[in-house]
């Protein structure tokens, strides 16, 4: 019997080592299963003496263990071979995209407003917004632009049938906020404004401004320059050099135009800055005492600076957009680029 066991062992080990992966499980059942060869061979044990039983039994267990081990070895070899062949056997074309990407887009106006609001908030400014339909009082008078003031003609205003206007600047928001809020106060309003103009590549009747103010006890022009320089450096993501020039806006006194040094040529002059070295960006100045007075605040006690600029200008400069009409055209082929 021992002899038969030995023969079984030899045959089994040879079969296992050459078994195909698909047959391995069947082979294991046929050798070691309840009705397998080893089990049936050992059924003959009953006719043997106790001594022989002991001896053969022990030997049979060794054979069983050896066969089991051979199976384990064989399956781990097979697994290793399969894993090694994965790259070839399960290759797919990873450049092919059968499922199309339908991600929507966020309009550049939305993106930049959200971005600026984040920057202003981080600098301690509160974000305000206001209505588009504004009274003559807040669009003009409260901003120190009385009815016969020439500045009224600088802005071609849309007048509504009920005598109100479409706001021609976001400054109306702070004219309102100044009345209702206590000082010190720092705020920014971003939004849509309207000018009654015919459309072309550089003129829009609907555009966007970002406008802010900073009111405290001892605020200076020097503070304004510093704050605006910091703000613009954050917006452009690089250190920005600014300069002030006299500029006229009825709601500030002194009033300035703020230029920043061309970041393309560092002020040497290039086609981007029209060879001047500087690019005009904002209007700014110290809030006119009349504006504070009209808001019921004491200009001897409080001072502030304010600024305003166009979002289109920022975006067109940043992304080299040549036609302002692109923004409201909303061709998806344009929007997908942002």
């Amino acid at each position: 019997m021992k002899h038969e066991l030995k023969a079984l062992r030899e045959r089994a080990l040879a079969d296992i080592s050459s078994a195909e992966p698909a047959n391995l499980k069947d082979l294991e059942v046929s050798l070691l299963g309840k009705k397998g060869e080893l089990t049936s061979l050992l059924k003959g044990l009953g006719s043997l003496s106790i001594e022989e039983k002991k001896d053969i039994g022990k030997f049979a267990n060794t054979v069983r263990d050896e066969i089991k081990l051979a199976f384990e070895d064989r399956s781990s070899d097979i697994l290793a071979a399969e894993m090694a062949a994965l790259a070839k056997n399960e290759w797919i074309d990873v450049t092919h995209q059968p499922l199309t990407n339908k991600q929507g887009t966020v309009h550049p106006f939305s993106q930049i407003m959200q971005e600026l609001e984040g920057i202003f908030t981080s600098m301690g400014f509160e974000i305000f917004d206001g209505d588009h339909i504004e009274t003559e009082e807040f669009n003009f008078d409260a901003l120190n632009i009385p009815p016969d003031h020439p500045a009224r003609d600088h802005q071609d205003t849309f007048w509504l049938q009920d005598g109100r206007v479409l706001r021609s600047q976001t400054s109306d928001t702070w004219a309102r906020i100044l009345r209702t809020r206590d000082f010190p106060l720092r705020g920014v309003s971003l939004g849509r404004v309207f000018r009654n103009e015919a459309l072309d590549a550089s003129h829009e009747h609907t555009f966007h401004q970002f406008e802010g103010f900073y009111i405290d006890k001892d605020v200076s022009v020097a503070n304004m320059t510093s704050a605006l320089q910091t703000m613009l450096s954050r917006i452009f993501g690089t250190d920005i050099t600014v300069r002030l020039r006299p500029g006229y806006f009825p709601f500030v006194e002194p009033g300035y135009e703020l230029d920043f040094q061309c970041t393309v040529c560092n002020g040497k002059g290039c086609s981007v800055c029209k060879h001047v070295g500087w690019i005009e960006l904002l209007g700014c100045g110290m809030i006119h005492p009349n504006v504070l007075r009209m808001a019921g605040k004491d200009p001897d006690q409080w001072r502030g600076f304010a600024w305003g600029g166009g979002l289109e200008r920022l975006l067109m400069m940043r992304h080299k957009i040549s036609d302002i009409r692109m923004f409201h055209e909303c061709d998806i082929r344009d929007l997908r680029q942002f």
Binding site: H107, T121, I127, P147, P150, D153, F158, R186, S220, I332
Partner: protein, 794 residues
């Protein structure tokens, strides 16, 4: 406004100054410039030369070779020229290497033309910006032969520099609308002596009562007139005056007219000259126009006037629209020998109204609209008298008269004083500076400032309109001190955490969600016009209109975002198969302005786009943790398809509507595909979102659930929502129910539909037993049967 630098130099000793530096300094101290014309720079490297010989070019029929004499220093050069009018002996303009021609676009170099050396270019007028003539080369005055080799600009005395000031930048400074005013500024920038102030009394005359001047309106502060007789007819102004006028963009006409313009450009006071013989009598009445009154103006146009304008009346007819334009009936012509010069101070408003109403902008109206000082008429008439004495000594000043409203002449010429402090000026500028330095800075401008802690600044009459309070002085101090000298100092403020604008943040959140739902966030116009409103089924009731729209697209404000979304969809459908847009924007009526969230979906050949837009809307609400209900609507809404239209609500609060676009509107707009749309009230949604209680976490059930499917036959019009709620309400164990399929058509009766429905049973406290499941199932069956459902396979 154009200024001549040579004219400015009469008032301020500028010395040798580089025009680039001057432009920079004016820009950084006074006002922006629109441009600068510097003929000397434009004509650099162009010289006076003489064509010594003109010979044919051996290799080109149309070209000729000239030997050109450029004087002793530069000698003779060979130049190839194509002009047919070139002849030997002509005095010509020669551009040599480095010269820029054709508006700066071409730089001259030594070169070979068809094999022959050419060392320059013989210029035509238009090639060097001296006129439009390109008939041939420019042939100069033979007298210039003595100046061969002289720069052309010098030889032609084109040495002036013209500064073009941006009018908008000086609209608050009436004093700057003339050469004298700018000379004061330039003197201040370079700390040069201030120009002498002009005489501010009226000129003297033989008589003072030739005319009876009456001011019948408050809109004229002062009216001064000077009548001059004995002028020889047909006089023209001298060449120097014509050149200055032309430099400043004014066409010379005759001595008398040119005088008025010259004095205006010099002193800032517009004048008008009437032919005295054409005035009907001796009355000069300044009054408001009568509504509908007519006058023929100098440009021979008949103008209809409004009562907000002021006219000058000669006792019979209006003879001028005050501050805007004179009348044709009293125009100066070649026979004029006596003149009535008018110099008046009209208020801003009537001039502005007349300018807008008549569409007549003039040099005169530009100045009056800024608010002129009543002293100026005296200054101007004095200057006219002075120039007349020089240019037309035969003329006699017959009378000088004036009338004024309210304030006396002495009062208006009085200096005013503004009191400020050193601390204020140092504080607002951020410059640590002494009182004496401050006073010195004001002195640059001719403002007398005195004091130490308290500083008193005396304001001359010509700055009365714009220097009114300390803030105005701060502006003057800072710009003359020099903006480039100002420090940059970070504000030293307390840290304030700004209140967050949660409404605005909600808006950004929505835009982000919508873009993740495969829609494009768009910004479109708020405008609409009557035609588009009508096409969308709206009339003008309650719509707010624009009074003065320049373009026909902007006549009204839209009460809904949908029409512009539809136009945008239509534009995009030309290039896209699917177009899904969303917009958060304002909608308007006569009673409201509010934010709306709206969207549209359209795809080629999609017959039921409703379900796409529905998934976007439910996705939006799900992202906000809100559960939205779609309730069929029978409201008549012109934009919405009557059978595919629902209201949107959350927990019973209606927030908006959703549906497909009414095919009639689609047809009116010519959109090829069906479109689905929705509109949600932003603030209602924001309010609802804000009122959500803080979310409380529910433990995930540990017991297994059971999912079962039913197939039903129900009435065709039975709502999916009713079936769902019927299942969910019939058993407390039913936690989810979805409609997996709906079928209508073959094999199903016409008034029925087949619905597949899947529900989940779950007990969060125990494992479901067969009995419990069967009981729940029975309840669900009964509940569905109450709706008339026939459950198949039961």
């Amino acid at each position: 406004m154009k200024l001549s630098l040579s004219w400015l130099r009469e008032y301020v000793p500028l010395g040798d100054i580089d025009s680039t530096q001057l432009v920079h300094d004016i820009t950084t101290h006074v006002a922006e410039l629109e441009g600068v014309e510097d003929m000397k720079t434009t004509l650099a490297n162009i010289f006076v030369g003489k064509a010594l010989s003109v010979e044919p070019h051996p290799n080109a029929d149309r070209l000729r070779i000239s030997q050109v004499d450029l004087g002793a220093d530069m000698g003779t050069r060979q130049i190839v020229c194509g002009a047919s009018n070139l002849e030997a002996g002509q005095i010509i303009a020669v551009a040599i290497e480095g010269a820029k021609v054709f508006g700066g676009s071409v730089t001259i170099k030594k070169t070979k033309i068809r094999g022959e050396q050419s060392n320059g270019m013989i210029c035509a007028e238009d090639e060097i910006g001296l006129g439009g003539d390109h008939l041939g080369i420019m042939v100069l005055d033979p007298a210039l032969e003595s100046q061969l080799g002289t720069p052309l600009a010098d030889a032609l005395q084109l040495d002036d520099i013209i500064l073009d000031i941006d009018n908008k930048a000086i609209s608050h400074r009436p004093d700057l609308w003339c050469h004298l005013g700018f000379a004061r500024e330039i003197a201040a920038i370079y700390n040069l002596p201030q120009p002498q102030n002009p005489t501010i009394t009226l000129p003297t005359a033989e008589a003072s009562d030739l005319y009876s001047i009456s001011l019948e309106t408050d809109d004229c502060l002062r009216y001064a007139g000077m009548s001059v007789s004995g002028i020889p007819a047909g006089l023209t102004s001298p060449a120097w005056m014509q050149k200055r006028l032309e430099s400043c963009g004014i066409r010379p006409i005759s001595l008398l007219v040119d005088l008025t313009n010259y004095v205006m450009l010099e002193q800032g006071q517009p004048l008008h000259a009437f032919d005295a013989d054409k005035l009907s009598g001796n009355d000069i009445i300044v009054r408001n126009a009568q509504e509908g009154e007519k006058i023929i103006t100098l440009d021979d146009q008949e103008r209809t006037l409004s009562d907000s304008y002021v006219v000058i009346d000669d006792g019979k007819d209006p003879v001028a629209v005050a501050g805007v334009m004179g009348g044709a009936s009293t125009e100066i012509d070649s026979t004029t020998t006596s003149v009535f010069f008018e110099a008046a101070t009209f208020k801003k408003k009537p001039v502005r109204e007349a300018r807008i109403g008549l569409g007549l902008q003039s040099e005169s109206s530009n100045r009056f609209e800024k608010g002129l000082n009543p002293v100026l008429p005296s200054v101007a008439l004095n200057r006219v008298a002075e120039l007349l004495a020089e240019l037309c000594p035969e003329a006699t000043i017959a009378s000088v008269q004036e009338a004024h409203n309210g304030t006396t002449f002495d009062e208006i010429t009085e200096d005013t004083v503004i009191v400020t402090t050193r601390d204020y000026l140092a504080g607002i500028s951020g410059v640590d500076i002494s009182s004496s330095e401050i006073c010195d800075t004001f002195a640059h401008l001719g403002l007398v400032a005195t004091g130490t802690d308290t500083i008193s600044v005396t304001i001359p009459y010509y700055r009365h309109t714009d220097l009114c309070e300390p803030a105005d002085l701060a502006e003057e101090f800072i710009r003359i001190y020099g903006l480039e000298n100002l420090p940059t100092v970070a504000p030293s403020a307390d840290v304030i955490a700004p209140t967050l604008n949660t409404r605005r943040q909600f808006e950004w959140k929505l835009r982000d969600i919508l873009s993740s739902l495969e829609t494009h966030d768009v910004h479109l116009y708020d405008f609409i016009n009557e035609e588009l409103l009508n096409k969308c089924g709206f009339d003008l009731d309650g719509i707010i209109g624009v009074n003065n729209a320049l373009t026909t697209d902007c006549t009204h404000l839209s009460p809904t975002l949908i029409p512009q979304l539809l136009l945008c969809t239509d534009r995009n459908l030309r290039f896209q198969d699917t177009i899904s847009l969303s917009r958060i924007g304002k909608v308007y009526s006569q009673t409201f302005e509010k934010l709306s969230i709206s969207g549209s979906y359209s795809a080629k050949k999609e017959s039921t786009p409703y379900h796409h837009i529905q998934s976007i809307v439910s996705g939006l609400f799900a992202a906000l943790n809100l559960s939205v209900s779609f309730t069929p609507s029978t409201d008549i809404e012109p934009l919405y398809h009557p059978g595919r239209h629902a209201t949107l609500s959350v927990n019973g609060t209606t927030l908006g509507r959703i549906g497909e676009l009414h095919p009639l509107v689609q047809n009116n707009l010519g959109i090829k595909e069906r479109v689905a749309i929705y509109e949600i009230d932003f603030d209602l949604l924001f309010e609802l979102y804000n009122s959500l209680p803080t979310l409380e976490h529910q433990s995930t059930p540990t017991f297994p659930s059971v999912t079962q499917d039913f197939s039903l036959l129900v009435d065709r019009l039975e709502l999916a929502e009713n079936l769902r709620s019927s299942v969910l309400s019939s058993s407390s164990l039913a936690t989810e129910c979805t409609i997996t399929d709906v079928y209508m058509g073959e094999g199903i009766p016409d008034d029925k539909k087949s619905v597949s429905l899947r529900f989940t049973l779950l007990d969060s406290q125990a494992t479901l037993t067969e009995e419990v499941i069967s009981e729940a199932r029975q309840n669900i069956i009964e509940s569905l049967q109450k709706l008339g459902a026939e459950i198949r396979g039961l």
